[in-house]
Amino acid sequence: MKEARFPRVMLVVLMVFLLAPFLIILIASFGDNASLRFPPQGFTLQWFRDALDQRMFVRGFYLSVQVAVVSTLLALLLGVPLAYATSRYNFTGKRLIQVVATLPVIVPELVLGLALLRYLIVATNLPLRPSLILGHTTLLIPYTVRITLASLSNLPYDIEQAAISLGATRLETFFKVVLPNIRDGVLTSFVLAFILSFNNVPVSLFLTGIGVATLPIQMLLYMEYNFDPSIAALSTLLILFSTLVVFITERLLGISRAFK
């Protein structure tokens, strides 16, 4: 049993690294101190009430959900066909398209945000909300493209040709054969993209302004002047929300198969 010891130690270290920050925040959010501290003293639910009472947080939450849903859908709508086209057709520049579609992952998000601010908002006077959605969509496309490409590579092209030989058009083949078989990949990218957008700070930072700020930005702004446990309480709620999103998707759509 001696050789089993090292992996077990590694596992414990890993769990501590992954879970400790969450646990600290979770515990601190119940503390009875006026400022955030660990370990906390006393027990209160007051910070949760405070957090939910902040109108800026509630409005930020709604905006974040809205931006995340719309930009995730847009990223899927653009990313899935792009992945399909570049994996199934041969044309000049398809490698280039794949690289360009992945670029937003490589470019620092702050640079992306700044560029969008200067050349989108300032140059075209585009309102903040659509700018946010566009910015997030750009950010999410690499993920939807990459994950869809990975699912597609598991689906032999013979299967599509079989459908075509049986009389299906390209479009029918895509919806009746391709999509059902890459469903898990598409759902995975949906959840991943949603959470990435919902939690994003660097891009949102440049694309928000008076009255239009996502929840993470509101929290950042709040923390500049306040350092009470209500921010920890809010974080706890957000962790709960993200977990819930994953959990519900898994329950409804059986997404766990995609993570195999």
Binding site: P156, D158, I159, Q161, A162, A163, I164, S165, L166, G167, A168, T169, E172, K176, V177, P180, N181
Partner: protein
């Protein structure tokens, strides 16, 4: 009028480098024709061209008198069976077979009847609700077969359908496949690199090499009278030696070798003075030890046994001779010969063929 006609068909994935070059072929209704050849010979590409999965760079394709050269693949009504089975993983056996019928908007009663009939034909009644992942390779290919024929295709294309299966199943399935094909009378093109499979299944065989047809004929014809050295090698003429033709008359070539003169069948283009390669099967030679036993053969070559391989029905001897190493097969009920023994290789008359080098 041929049912399926390919005229000057040229197919390639890149400009100027055709994989199939100027192919002409006519297949009659109800026939099963095999495309036989090594990988890269263009047999699968030709099949894909007929299916409409690749465009023809040149030439034309006619099915039942209509021009299909530019018809999209989904409008051709051609059944295709793939080496990888290519079943729809997310659909049950029933829905896989029903796929083509649903696209044709066949009404429910008839759809059920036809799917049941097709599954019955391949011996898979009772498997309707299974998913492809729950079936063995052989069962999956039978579903694929049912799926391809249920749409009553005007043509059935099979792309190495048995290559992913083990030897025993392959033979079992090819018999079933042939029975289904004959029962439906559907004109079929069968791609394979397995000569035994092609011989067993086909009405006619097209032997292909480097994008063009080497020989076209019945299995018996291709097996007995390979027209080129390539076809001969593919048909099991494993042994060959070089010689010079002295004279040709009545289809018999008289060939000089350093070991004497022999006569062989002459293939096309063999004439006096030509440098030729003479090819023969392992079964076309006899091995004798005493000069008195030499039969009336065309050519007797001295040699030494290098290796003996027992194969059940017969024994294979690898014999080293001045003309090269030969593989000779002898019935295993004959007196066995030992390795290193000196023997004489006696080539049977009429079973050697000379090809222009």
């Amino acid at each position: 009028m041929a049912f399926l006609a390919l005229q000057d068909v040229t197919i390639g994935y890149q400009q100027h480098t055709p994989i199939v070059d100027g192919l002409n072929l006519a297949i009659d209704e109800g026939e099963l024709v095999s495309f036989l050849g090594p990988s890269g010979c263009g047999k699968t590409t030709t099949l894909r061209g007929i299916a409409g999965f690749v465009h023809l760079m040149r030439g034309s394709l006619t099915i039942a008198g209509s021009n299909y050269t530019t018809t999209p693949a989904n409008k051709r009504n051609i059944g295709v069976v793939f080496q990888s089975y290519a079943l729809f993983p997310h659909l049950s056996v029933f829905e896989n077979v029903a796929f083509g019928l649903r696209l044709r908007r066949v009404n429910n009663t008839e759809l059920r009847r036809r799917v049941a009939e097709a599954l019955d034909m391949v011996g898979l009644s009772g498997f309707e609700t299974r998913l492809p992942g729950q079936l063995s390779g052989g069962q999956q290919q039978r579903v694929a077969m049912a799926r391809a024929v249920v749409i009553e295709p005007q043509l059935l294309l099979l792309d190495e359908p048995l290559s992913n299966l083990d030897a025993k199943l392959r033979i079992e399935l090819r018999v079933q496949l042939r029975r289904v094909q004959k029962r439906l009378g559907v004109t079929s093109v069968y791609v394979t690199h397995d000569q035994e499979e092609a011989l067993a299944l086909s009405d006619r065989i097209v032997v292909m090499n480097a994008g063009s047809i080497e020989q076209l004929g019945t299995p018996e014809h291709v097996y007995q009278q390979p027209e080129t050295l390539f076809v001969a090698q593919f048909m099991g003429f494993a042994n060959q030696f070089a010689g010079t033709v002295v004279d040709v008359s009545d289809g018999i070539a008289y060939v000089d070798t350093p070991q004497g003169r022999g006569h062989t069948r002459a293939s096309r283009g063999v004439c006096a003075g030509a440098e030729v390669v003479v090819a023969f099967r392992p079964t076309a030679a006899e091995l004798v030890t005493a000069p008195a036993d030499v039969p009336d053969s065309t050519l007797t070559i001295p040699g030494q046994i290098l290796l003996r391989t027992f194969q059940g029905e017969d024994v294979n001897y690898l014999v080293k001779t001045p003309l090269g190493e030969f593989d000779v097969s002898v019935a295993s009920n004959r007196t066995p010969l030992t390795e290193h023994a000196d023997v004489m290789v006696c080539l049977a008359k009429e079973r050697c063929i000379a090809y222009v080098h």
